[in-house]
Symmetry: D2
Subunit: 352 residues, 4 copies
């Protein structure tokens, strides 16, 4: 009955904050796919749009890059990492990293059995100090795997951001330890929009070798990519993409998605909107926030009972850290209805 | 000048017969993607469309099947085969099979180093006898890889078809030798349309365990799949798809493509049209045909000089077996312009 | 000068307690290799001695087993685990397990990218509760790797032992969670000698599927093996051994080592001797022991300064947990000189 | 009865010409293992003998090399090749090469799914021309695997030898095609003894990057190695050896085998003896030889009926190319009894 009353008060509409990957495709991107859907074009990335994408990305990053589109973030991360570490290498990452927790061992598969070495850190962020210590722990010569890459998520799995200065410091730590530097940018747009920086400032200028640049969570259909800054790694990425089955024949469609995504700053507009709505939720949640809101993800810890009430009121979201944790993640997507956000904000204020 | 005259005679229009994978997306399939592009839906294949796809495919095949969509035919073949053979297994296939020649070793990658064992045969088809002999050659116990799967293409890389009787015989040969049976159906629609049979008749009724069922070449954007008949293999296929990065988050779009493809027989209409136009080319080519036309691919061997003239006249296609071979492949796609076919047919008649 | 005085007091002789793998080969085992070194014998394990080994091991374990000799414990562990888990599987083990820390990712290599899931526990031992919790943490369906095997070391990397009752409880926990059960028995002899039990009691009777049964540390030259209790796994072990390059052509020599090792209880005599000498060190170390001595390894934590003095006095050993930890491991081998043990015991008493 | 008569004529003694890997260990090598079996020594290749081996091999090859001992030729070949080719690479080799036919796909396993590309050629030898053609056939860009290494056997699986000039020509062909150059030297001693050349002349001076240098077939117990000339590949070989489980803890024993093997030319004496006895068989076989005898293997093709009679007379050997081929391989080992050779020679003369 409590549930019914709540629904009565807030309307029947769902409040779906499960993930930004439940959202549909942005109309601008859909339209772009329609536009390229005309006549024959060369297969396997030899089409005009795929080739233009390299140029557009090079302009975006203010230097020469190679771009390889793939079907998922898991593929982008795994192909990038496998191209950066030998099979006996170790990838240093945060304990909550997507590559560790959500990819069913895809990095291990693509790399031929490399190992992830886990670090801790607030907001799912890692520090140069943590990197240094992890490398030192592993100094057992031939008997232990060899630290070979650092992988960070920007934004992190906790919605936190690395500032440009932090990225520079991590890049230096990686370089000093002889590690390749990879960024999981499934939510790269949210990071760039929030940091209000140039894409190059938090990637290659900080020593990043490879970026998993995703568009799917922020409005595309299935457009993820590996952006290669360290061009020595391009052949490996290209070959691994092919062997992973991610060189699709009709390359114009993922290319068109990315071209539309980047054109006229669409990617940043969509991300900025989601970020701003997340801020509203953050303000409403007040002291029940478990972390400051920096991008489009909001983490609250009002307790298990309160979460139950939120759900009874129609809110949909995932528990974080198990049901008993009393913590939840709320993700705002590019297409989130403003009224939906307001309804949830109203509910959250009661915990603030 | 010769070139100019030909262009004068036949117009400036291109005649692109390079491959059916250069074609755009069929309007019905594009429309279906537009229709599902509304509101939030569960990610990673938990959406309504993905779940309906299992039902629709089960109805199509007249038995329970599991379907796993992937981004490419290479992914479908590799995931299927890796799920059917152990790392020390051998996959028996034709020397010209796509898995041997065109996938940059993807089956070896996905399977952890299985081996392809090559067989010969007219029209890129294999026979029960060839299977039997290949298995016998390998009978060296622990020192040689273990024959573990038979993989055939339907239609083959030479456009040839296996009749239902031939598939039954191959299925029996596979069973007798303890081999799993896989079909590469990148052009399955062309085969079913030409054979005028039920999909089940040339798959599970003949003992097929796994089918790579593709839609991309016949009108989809990027919709390939592994159809699992031997349900014991479903978990392996599902896990390998995930680890390969082919479980995409917005599953509604590949599902929608397949649903539209299969609805009201669209897939067979598109394939039948391409097959029929290929027949016209075959008739025109007459005695310069190197193989009878059975699906949407036409192989001609008019000699290197004649091929040069065809190209000068505006025809685009691939040499087959190297430039010196004097042989070429002409592929007719679902979207091929009839006038284009007529123009090429006119050119071919001079060799007939 | 302090160093010189100590050396004066205790003599110049080294006290090498680095590891039992620095010891030579037991004379009985050397003699056995000499005995079989006569005439031709079939290659690749078809020789008489290799075949007899299966029988001898079956008798030892009081049930049918298959034995596959390999060149190292790393090979035994990796081949066993790869045969027990799919590439998307997870192996649960202690954070200090040899497979995690000392094999440079060999289990990941052999398994095609499976993952190790680490558990904590005193004495490098794991508990059924820890297993249960680790499995529960991983319950994220397709997105996380699938717990597929439990691996424990007997004796552990900290010299601790699992009693028969503990092994039974772990076996039940593994079974309940659907896990295969593997034992790293690089020091299996030390465990059996100390527990004074039948080999079957702490292996297959407790549900163990696969045992890495090593002899090298306890007197052999290079004789390690995978003992297969779950005969369904035998083909995989055999094939993986071959592909790993561990099916050597002159199989009589590793077989002869194992036959001599097991004959007349040599293995238990050698192990019991080492265990007994370790006890003496333990008694001498008294309260500076960091763990009770249960097998042939002794862990002391007298502080960094004290360890320096021990080394100055001629003792050789490894720090444990880094130099700053002030902890050290002393391993007593089958061939350890009693006088050497007495000298070290004398030194240890000062810390007791 | 025919059988009995023959046995009567030639005595009950077996004539075992199955393989040189059925032979025992040479007394000099056994003695060397006895000699090092004294006291403790550092584990995992840090012992004095292992370190000396690098020096001795460097002297032997007249330049700096790195040596990594392993347990089998399969391991040596697979680790070497995996260190020379990327997973998307192709290894060019003869159709009858050991790596293709006898290693159960070990090279594919170690390399993460590389592919073997087969060439034909008399005596299981390949030519620069065959290499050039194989590379040309594969020129399909991203869709086909990338030729990355050439592997030849010296002596070949047919007992044939590459002269120094032939090796130079192959090395040049490999270099021109961008291929690493590997030699399977399971019978390297037989080759060097027969060619009467310096080891460096048919390896690094001809551009060889990696040599699988085996001693087992020519008198050792289990001593195979990867000799690295291209030192850039040393780390990969070392790491892959560790991950393959071939870095054994008691490294002094394989090192001692090799040191004894190379000392005072033992390896060449043993090989020369076997070669000379093989020559006697070759002379006896006369026109039923299917190939000229160049090392310690003799191939005869007297027909299936004749082979049956040979067996009835007590000769043991393997059919070559299937029982129906009427061809057989006779291998003479370092320990072959001269009388045994004479008996077989007597039998062969009847076919000559």
């Amino acid at each position: 009955m409590y549930k019914s009353l709540l629904r009565l008060a807030y309307g029947e509409e769902t409040m779906n904050f499960r993930s930004d990957n439940t959202a549909p495709v942005a109309p601008e991107i859909m339209a772009a796919m329609m536009r390229v859907n005309e006549g024959a074009s060369l297969a396997y990335g030899a089409d005009d749009w795929s080739r233009r994408l390299d140029q557009v990305m090079s302009a975006l990053f203010e230097r020469e890059v190679r771009v390889f589109t793939v079907a998922s973030g898991t593929a982008a991360n795994s192909i990038a990492l496998a191209s950066a570490v030998p099979p006996w290498g170790a990838v240093l990452c945060h304990r909550e990293a997507h590559i560790e927790s959500d990819e069913c061992g895809a990095p291990e598969f693509y790399s031929g059995g490399a190992k992830l070495m886990l670090m801790d850190g607030e907001g799912a962020k890692v520090t140069p100090q943590a990197v240094k210590e992890a490398v030192a722990r592993q100094a057992r010569g031939i008997h232990s795997v060899k630290p070979a890459a650092l992988s960070v998520s920007q934004a992190t799995e906790r919605g936190a951001l690395y500032t440009q200065a932090e990225m520079m410091a991590l890049g230096e730590a990686a370089k000093r330890a002889g590690l390749a530097f990879h960024v999981d940018g499934a939510r790269f747009a949210n990071a760039v929009a929030a940091l209000n920086c140039k894409p190059g400032d938090i990637t290659w200028r900080a020593g990043v070798d490879l970026l998993s640049f995703g568009a799917t969570k922020n409005g595309a259909m299935a457009a993820e990519s590996v952006v290669v800054f360290n061009l020595d790694l391009a052949e490996a990425v290209e070959r691994r993409r092919k062997r992973g089955g991610h060189l699709i024949c009709k390359g114009r469609y993922p290319a068109a998605q990315f071209l539309a995504y980047l054109e006229d700053g669409l990617w940043l507009r969509l991300a900025a909107r989601a970020n701003a709505l997340a801020q509203r939720l953050g303000e409403a949640a007040g002291k029940c926030l478990s972390l400051a809101v920096e991008s489009n993800q909001v983490f609250i810890r009002p307790g298990a009972e309160a979460l139950k009430r939120l759900r009874a009121a129609g809110a949909e979201f995932y528990d974080w850290g198990g049901e008993a944790s009393g913590e939840a993640r709320l993700v705002v997507s590019w297409s989130q209805d403003e009224a939906e956000v307001e309804r949830l904000a109203g509910l959250l204020r009661q915990f603030a």
